[in-house]
Symmetry: C2
Subunit: 282 residues, 2 copies
């Protein structure tokens, strides 16, 4: 069952004129809730706020958002929280109203479970055909224009392939359909620069911190499929899955090496810590 609040009210009735539905004019974030604690909620709200402001969408008050989340969690203590902030309705065609009123849609979905082996033994990935268009004005933002990801995820149905890697228009590796990607090459962790497309994930920013903390060199780089093929280790992250090593991309095998293991341990430690200290809600 999905519990859902629109602007704080329990309803399943969305205004069809909302610009989120009309144009995908909004941003979102997805995060797991464990034992009543939405993990890394502050980071998700910070990212949402940053993304909304880049699009000129006024950000709702933190206290309204916290009150909504608290209401949802009073009924159920675990699941996947999805927060959407749109520019609301109004304006003339594409032109936004001069003073838009944001709309917030917050849903608590049932927990998502993936096989434990994904995190332990790694997953199999493929490359997607569809590319990511380049647009610095939208790059990094987790906005609601996600047709490229929908089409990418439609490309395969083989359940043994767990994630698809996406290239940009110029042929650079950018991300998975729902994850950020990292490779380990000659002792250095590389992750795609997200200045022209891609989503700047909360878990990605945690990996950047982890690398700093653990003393692993990490660089944001232009990565090619050849660069990935030459790497020793590959791993993927997002807020729901945490970290998945990649053991196979279209037949090429990768090991789960020291960097992947150390970063994974650091993330699990921080996640447990976040789960304990997350008393900010409710």
């Amino acid at each position: 069952m999905i519990s859902l609040l629109i602007d704080g009210r329990p309803t399943n009735c969305l205004d069809p004129l909302d610009r989120g539905f009309q144009y995908g004019d909004g941003v979102f974030s997805t995060l797991p809730v464990h034992a009543g604690v939405p993990l890394f909620l502050d980071r998700h709200l910070d990212r949402l706020r940053r993304d909304a402001l880049r699009l000129g969408i006024p950000f709702p008050s933190r206290s309204d958002l916290m009150a909504d989340i608290s209401t949802l969690l009073s009924h159920r203590q675990a699941g996947i929280l999805k927060i959407q902030i749109t520019r609301g309705s109004g304006g003339r065609g594409y032109r936004p109203p001069e003073h838009p009123t944001a709309m917030r849609v917050i849903a608590l979905h049932p927990p998502v479970t993936y096989p434990e082996e994904y995190a332990v033994h790694g997953i199999e990935a493929r490359y997607c055909e569809i590319r990511l268009g380049l647009n610095p004005a939208l790059a990094g933002i987790k906005h609601m224009n996600r047709l490229e990801q929908v089409l990418a995820r439609s490309e395969w149905s083989d359940p043994s392939i767990v994630e698809g890697l996406m290239l940009d228009y110029d042929g650079h590796v950018i991300e998975g359909t729902m994850s950020n990607v990292f490779v380990v090459s000659k002792g250095c962790i590389l992750t795609p620069r997200l200045d022209r497309c891609g989503v700047n994930g909360v878990m990605r920013s945690l990996v950047l911190e982890a690398a700093g903390d653990l003393g692993w060199p990490l660089e944001e780089a232009r990565l090619t499929p050849d660069g990935v093929a030459a790497a020793e280790e590959v791993f993927l992250t997002n807020s729901v899955i945490g970290l998945w090593p990649v053991r196979d991309i279209e037949g090429q095998r990768f090991t789960i090496g020291k960097a992947t293991r150390k970063i994974g341990e650091w993330l699990r430690y921080k996640t447990r810590q976040a789960g304990r200290s997350g008393s900010s809600v409710g």
Copy 2:
């Protein structure tokens, strides 16, 4: 007042889990209704169907769509009809359900009126800063991922500037925020090729027919701002505005020449004809 039907029912209650709201996973078309006749409806439905199928969205039956439109027009005889077709709800994250059920949202908005002088004496346009990302898989489709247009239309508020021209990532002129663009250069009509981005408008396809009919050479080309500056005439089209000559782009003046006038006359003739023969609804 806006009348609206969702899957044939008069309601203002949209499912927030609809993939149109979640991901912009849908297509749309906008067309004027005059004296009970939705202009060029068949062409709009053909384009919608083509766009939906390119995205793998099953297209609703023509008779359902016609029944909806007929219901809306039984209350009001004039306005702007907006038809949205989404992939419905369901699936797991970006992954669409194996057998999606399309959702149709059809709204009749009040008539939009623009000053008559726009069509007669031409309009003033500017170039937008934000560029269009390149993605052949989405090029030409009037899909619901329209953040680029929203941001482009947010760039100016000076009411004397009526439309903004958009370049693609490589610097080619592609379209206006809400219109297709044509230039007349050395006796030839040129319009941007839409193989990498842009929306293939219904009125654009009518201009292509007009040129053939009138014996004007017309080419789809890669157009640059320099190419536009070197042109003698510039005009814009969409289904609601018809044709607007452009008399000024950032200070550079253009004349309203023979090609623009002849194409405009042809379009007005066909539009009157469509208005009379459009007995297919209601």
